[in-house]
């Protein structure tokens, strides 16, 4: 286990160094993402200046949601950046080289890339959570747990969608679209989702478990919320690992479209 963590850390360090290698490009990408996040946040600030609240949500709630989303995307991008183009990686047949090596496949695929713009999300998250979310020091453990659970669900969802590439060549684009939809659904107040849309947001697209449920850990901590968040993270991680390995088995039988 310690060796696996050591290998992941070594690969992740290498991927981060790679994302830094072109400093000019790195600065532009990070800066661009910060500007993008500030623009989005400004829209919400102006919105709440006029309406005060929507469905019981106020600016600090929205800032918490926004900050959690940016944290999840930031951590996923910096430390598990391979999730972003995973379907394309699988379809290019890059699994072959990994299959001739003795270590786990998912960790190798996730650690192979670190996304420069994700640093911009992380910087934005610290600013938004620190300035607008009205958090107390006592909220920090719950906040960290919420980010960890949300990141687990988000990366697991991306792995599950990308694993469809083992069955359909078209997954190259729709896996990314589904991951983006998950994020989009995560970016709005939970109170706007009702009925079938809410069911989708908490099942097929696990948007509810990326940010909305983990948010409850911070705003309304309790055993029930904790159980729901942990349950969501464990279930989606299990689905991702199961689906990926089913796909790998199919690939190794020679039935995958990438062969």
């Amino acid at each position: 286990m310690m060796r696996a963590i050591g290998l992941y850390a070594a690969q992740s360090r290498a991927a981060i160094r790679t994302s830094f290698s072109d400093r000019g490009n790195f600065a532009i990408q990070v800066g661009g993402m910060i500007v993008n996040d500030i623009f989005f946040l400004t829209l919400w600030v102006l919105f709440f200046a006029g309406f005060r609240s929507i469905g019981g949500w106020t600016l600090p709630d929205m800032a918490l949601l926004f900050g959690l989303t940016m944290s999840v995307v930031g951590i996923s991008g910096v430390f598990f950046g391979g999730y972003r183009d995973l379907a394309a990686t699988l379809l290019r047949g890059e699994l072959d080289a990994l299959l001739t090596q003795p270590k786990g496949l998912i960790s190798r695929l996730l650690a192979r890339e670190s996304i420069a713009t994700a640093w911009g999300d992380l910087a934005g998250a610290v600013f938004v959570l620190g300035v607008f979310a009205r958090l107390q020091v006592a909220d920090i453990p719950a906040l960290l747990l919420a980010i960890a659970a949300g990141t687990t669900v988000y990366v697991s969802a991306a792995i599950s969608f990308a694993s469809l590439a083992f069955w359909a060549a078209g997954a190259r684009s729709f896996a990314r679209d589904l991951t983006d939809f998950t994020l989009l659904f995560s970016s709005y107040p939970g109170s706007i989702y009702q009925g079938a849309v809410k069911t989708i947001a908490f099942t097929l697209l696990p948007a509810g478990f990326v940010v909305l449920a983990p948010m409850g850990m911070v705003r309304d901590p309790g055993l029930q919320t904790l159980a729901l968040v942990v349950f969501g993270a464990v279930v989606y991680a299990a689905i991702a690992v199961g689906l990926f390995h089913l796909g790998v088995a199919r690939y190794r039988r020679g039935a995958s479209p990438s062969l």
Binding site: R3, G6, L7, A10, Q11, A14, A15, R17, T18, S21, G93, E94, D96, A97, L99, T100, Q101, P102, K103, R112, R252, R253, G254, A255, P257, L259
Partner: protein, 325 residues
């Protein structure tokens, strides 16, 4: 010689959906099964350097992928270093090195040295023996100036030297090479071939390679397995293969004046250059020494070269004979 690889009736069939014309037909594709490897049998002994050659789609890479544990066969058996590759993939991975000519196991943006350091973690290697092995390979492959250079800035030949080094760092007993010289220039190809041959010979390492380049086979391997349409057509030592399929020699005469003109049975003139006459001799009809004696009697000869026909011709003849059969 103990067998490192044993293959019995190994077969692999791919099933894929064939699209048909029309909108509604797109929802009910026709499924087609292609037999990539159709039941092959062979053994490779310790220290042997064996080439699997054949045209595109012959089943070379599929065979290599099954033996390295990437693919599961449709039927048949294989053991590699005493393990079943597709069932004991991870255990086998510690004992084999694999190079795909068109894929990379290195991190493109990182200096080669850092990729090698990551491979030490991947293969659970102790630092000291790993550093010693890297030092030896660096010296042998003249990599010192490349180690701190990002891989994506290297030429293809430099990158391939690093790829092969990467595949050897954990000290594998067996090396699989899939088209190791593809896309390289003549000098880079020569360097790769010399290295593979000498490293394998010095370390008693077994090598199984696939290639389209017949010089890879002639200069690296001592045995050739020719596959076509998923079946083994020929399995012979390289020299024997050449003798069996072409009882011919290529003799080049360098002369100061007019070219050599001989009228002997089984001797034909190939496209010749100024002051060089290239003759193809069917040794079953006329012996080499008879040709040379006749040319010397003709006068003006400054130099003579006797060569075997290029492997391309050997393989073309094998394919022609198997198709005719």
């Amino acid at each position: 010689m103990s067998a490192v690889i044993t293959v019995k009736s190994l077969a692999k069939a791919y099933r894929y959906a064939k699209r048909r014309g029309g909108f509604f037909e797109a929802f009910s594709p026709e499924h087609v099964t292609v037999e990539a490897v159709a039941g092959v049998d062979f053994e490779v002994g310790k220290g042997e350097r064996v080439a699997i050659i054949g045209p595109n789609g012959a089943g070379k890479s599929t065979t290599l992928k099954m033996l390295s544990g990437i693919l599961e066969p449709s039927s048949g058996e294989a053991t590699v270093l005493g393990l079943t590759p597709w069932k004991q993939r991870k255990a086998l991975a510690y004992r084999i090195g694999v190079v795909f000519g068109q894929r990379s196991q290195l991190w493109g943006e990182l200096p080669a040295r850092e990729s090698f350091a990551l491979l030490r973690h991947i293969y659970d290697q102790e630092a000291a023996p790993f550093a010693k092995r890297l030092g030896e390979l660096t010296e042998r492959f003249a990599l010192a100036e490349l180690l701190d250079q990002p891989v994506h800035r290297m030429s293809l030949g430099q990158r391939m030297r690093c790829e092969i080094t990467a595949s050897l760092l954990h000290g594998p007993n067996l090396l699989f090479l899939d088209e190791p010289t593809i896309g390289l220039d003549v000098t880079a190809k020569a360097a790769i071939r010399d290295f593979i041959r000498e490293h394998a010979r010095d370390h008693g390492q077994t090598v199984l390679l696939t290639s389209h380049d017949t010089r890879d086979i002639e200069l690296v391997c001592d045995r050739v397995i020719v596959v076509n349409q998923g079946r083994i057509v020929v399995d012979q030592p390289t020299d024997q293969l050449r003798r069996r399929f072409l009882g011919r020699k290529i003799i080049t005469f360098q002369s100061a004046g007019q070219g050599v003109s001989l009228n002997l049975p089984g001797v034909t003139r190939r496209a010749s250059e100024a002051h060089a006459t290239i003759l193809e001799v069917d040794t079953r009809l006329t012996r080499v020494e008879q040709v040379i004696a006749a040319a010397l009697a003709d006068g003006g000869i400054e130099d003579v070269t006797i060569e075997d026909p290029p492997m391309e011709e050997v393989i073309a003849e094998i394919y022609a004979s198997t198709h005719a059969a």
